[in-house]
Amino acid sequence: MTQYLDFEKPLAEIEGKAEELRALARANEEMDIADEAAALDAKAAVMLSDLYKDLTPWRKCQVARHPDRPHCKDYIQTLFSEYTPLAGDRNFADDHSVMGGLARFNDQPVMVIGHEKGSDTKSRIERNFGMARPEGYRKAIRLMDMAGRFGLPVITLVDTPGAYPGKGAEERGQSEAIARSTEMCLRIGVPLVSVIIGEGGSGGAVAFATANRVAMLEHSVYSVISPEGCASILWKDAEKMREAAEALRLTAQDLHKLGVADRIISEPHGGAHRDRTATIEGVGRAIGDMLKDLTGKDRDALIKDRRQKFLDLGNKGLAA
């Protein structure tokens, strides 16, 4: 059953009608509904491509957060073989909102790390909705460090509303953990490629996405603050999230112009959640391309490349 977003309501009506007709036909074999159903389907298809042709930034945020969107776990299952999860930060706990471990990507051993949001109520709670605590970043630091020492490329999949704002998280040094994770990203002498697959939420995303190459899915977002948070601070009204999303320039398209995203991975018609397989394959191709770009570079060149990429940011503005 498709979960419709608020702006997809007219589409939901048409698709619902077509479904009703088909259900009727199944109950009553003499009924011929083929033409009507096909007409409704065609109408729905046009509407879908119209809706997604020019998504506003706020709608993109909604699509990026869609519960049916493929998550880290789905990508790891499909794109990697011999995935061997590694757990724990060796200090305090294992954070289930960050998954990671050894795996093979096109037979090449790699380290894969990502935020996992969960796919139903139970797993969402277990995964803390993809909001990592310090242990999550410290696990990532440990895995990146290991990858660096064994010469394994690191692939990170970013999908988080942000780092978890909790009492324990603060006490155990949320800021320090994020800062060290960013630092480790900049230090490792192996290729580091990152894909923003859904939400790139602030510091929690930077901790994984300080990479040689950063790709973004077409309808993913990456921002310094959520539109709701920005609206409540600058507009003093969380309901102004549409305006805030507009002003923040958080879409993959704007971030590509600014040089933050190196490439955009296109999504199937109607968003990643409407064709998960095609989306995952597209991400796989992009990861392959980005890794290929970096092969042959030695340790120092990789570190220098990564530093320079970030030092250079900001030279490009957005044209009016």
Binding site: A163, Y164, P165, G166, K167, A169, E170, E171, R172, G173, Q174, S175, E176, I178, A179, R180, T182, E183, C185, L186, R187, S202, G203, V206, A207, T210, Y222, S223, V224, I225, C230, I233, L234, W235, E243, A244, A247, L248, R249, L250, D254, L255, L258, V260, R307, F310, L311, L313, G314, N315, G317, L318, A320
Partner: protein, 311 residues
């Protein structure tokens, strides 16, 4: 020229200006309510003489008190592209900038300087909370990179005083990108084997804490400074419970292993001299107020004015 311009007008002016004087002469401590004479307060580095409450201090005032003889030279910061996103909320970003520049008399939220403390050459950077909440945008990122590069060039330690609400939302993703950019700056210092000392002042929060402010060799904080990633209000809304007294304050972080020391502002200079000299393998410093060092040969001195205490 007649008696009106020479005599009457000055008298009238003095009557009006006199009325405004008392507000600036006395400052009420927010913590204990003591009325403090402005000169007394600024001589004590804006620390309440009664209850030790640490009030805000501008980077320039701080540097004047920090450097030998109050002499320091501004380090130039590369100018970033202005308003890169053409950001507009209820106000335009350039208008907010202009208002902040007018209110503070500074160009941006960070000041970088070179000079000597206890005859120890250092680079210092200080964030200005009164300038748009000290927020970290392209300029602050450039300032920290410039500070690190200058430190590496002159082989000096970097002492950074942080104070910020976090990233500057008006620069969107580019403000977020200052987290990796400033981390690169810290990496430059570490590679060059130079000490990086962070003095966390009230308040240091958000993306600033989650990047350069938490990557120092030594973390010192001023008493009772709020230091956190997520602010107390956000946490209370998330977990729906009251936070304990003193949560996310300097002493709390010291107890939780995030800081090396909590030090009063009035004792900070001596402590910084002691630590940097040891880390730089130099002999103990000569104590006490030192006169201004010999003028730098290659650079012109920044105008040093004894600014009156704000508020």
């Amino acid at each position: 020229m007649n008696w009106i311009t020479n005599y009457v007008r000055p008298r009238i002016n003095s009557i009006f200006s006199r009325r405004e004087m008392p507000e600036n002469l006395w400052h009420k401590c927010k913590e204990c309510g003591t009325m403090l004479f402005h000169r007394e307060l600024s001589d004590n580095l804006n620390v309440c003489t009664n209850c030790d409450h640490h009030m805000a201090i501008t980077p320039r005032e701080r540097f004047t008190a920090l450097f030998d003889g109050g002499v320091f030279t501004d380090v130039a910061v590369p100018e970033p592209k202005a308003d890169p996103l053409q950001f507009r909320d209820q106000k335009k970003y350039p208008d907010r900038m202009k208002a902040a520049q007018k209110a503070t008399g500074e160009k941006e939220a960070m000041l970088v300087a070179r000079g000597e403390i206890g005859r120890t050459p250092i680079i210092a950077a200080a964030q200005d909370f009164s300038f748009m909440g000290g927020s970290m945008g392209m300029y602050v990122g450039n300032a920290i990179i410039a500070a690190a590069q200058e430190a590496v060039r002159l082989k000096r330690p970097l002492i950074l005083f942080s104070a910020a609400g976090g990233a500057r939302m008006q620069e969107g993703i580019l403000s977020l990108m200052q987290m990796p950019r400033t981390t690169v700056a810290v990496e430059m210092l570490k590679e060059a084997g130079l000490p990086y000392i962070v003095v966390l002042t009230h308040p240091t929060t958000g993306g600033v804490t989650a990047s350069y402010a938490m990557l120092g060799d030594v973390h010192i904080s001023e008493p009772n400074a709020l230091i956190c990633f997520a602010g107390p209000r956000v946490i209370e809304q998330t977990i729906r419970e009251k936070l304990p007294e003193g949560f996310q304050r300097a002493e709390y972080l010291l107890d939780h292993g995030m800081l090396d020391r909590v030090t009063k502002r009035t004792e900070m200079r001596d402590e910084l001299i002691t630590i940097t000299r040891m880390l730089m393998n130099q002999p103990p410093a000569v104590r006490g107020d030192l006169p201004a060092p010999e003028p730098e040969a290659e650079a012109t001195k920044a105008p040093v004015e004894k600014a009156p205490a704000k508020k």
